[in-house]
Point group: C2
Chain length 137, copies 2
């Protein structure tokens, strides 16, 4: 994102990136890293969203999950409108630091459909049809 | 991916996509969906990777997690070289079907570094330094 106000040190490559103890996020060509939100209590995976440098910095600073809305082209404090906020318990990065994992305490449903998790449908044995997981409804 | 042999029906938009009971993956401009692998037993998030249509179809057909390697530009049957395969227990899709969640039985470490999960480092309270999660080492 051209307008990002936050600077992180640049990523290393290879093993050095895997082992560094510095946060050096590897943003993609659009300036984003993938962000997985996981319920800290149940372990359920709630959603997948995206963060630019500002969103990641805001999440770390405020303890409220903040993403980059690709559709709206703006920072998105999760739950700002709905009240369905995510209080961040822990932030993890993966080996090459192009993905982050947030363990969160989720208020209300994480999904915009109102469901607890965005992953409320399972693929059936035919590989074509979906069924609803009633636990997530 | 131009060379993809597998066709899925195209995604709907909005609520129709959220509620359909047909698998209609929403591939991005590069023909990919994000794929989260989660340990079916522990609930630990293991890794984030990518799938094109062929990788998703192969995963559904074989029950072995198969991704698209962006660095190598080829299908990647997870564990084919290392033996660290993922047997897929369940495949879920998110509301707009641009992400899938695999619940897997993981043999060996999921991470290429040998660790159980790729998310083996947590971001410290300073928002800059990482520490190793000894549970994942």
């Amino acid at each position: 994102m051209e307008g990002a106000m936050t600077d992180f040190p640049p990523p290393f490559s290879g093993t050095q990136q895997d082992e560094t103890l510095e946060l050096r996020p590897k943003f993609n060509a659009e300036g984003l890293v993938a962000a997985i939100a996981q319920d800290a209590a149940s372990g359920d995976v709630l959603m997948l969203a995206w963060m630019n440098a500002d969103a990641l910095a805001a999440t770390l600073e405020t303890g409220r999950a903040t993403y980059w809305s690709r559709s709206r082209g703006e920072l998105w404090v999760k739950g700002e409108t709905s009240g369905h906020v995510q209080d961040v318990v822990e932030v993890r990065v993966d080996c090459d630091q192009d993905a982050v994992l947030l363990r969160v305490n989720q208020t209300g449903g994480a999904c915009h459909t109102g469901r607890d998790s965005c992953f409320y449908r399972t693929v059936g044995p035919d590989g074509q049809t979906l069924s609803h997981d009633t636990n997530s409804d």
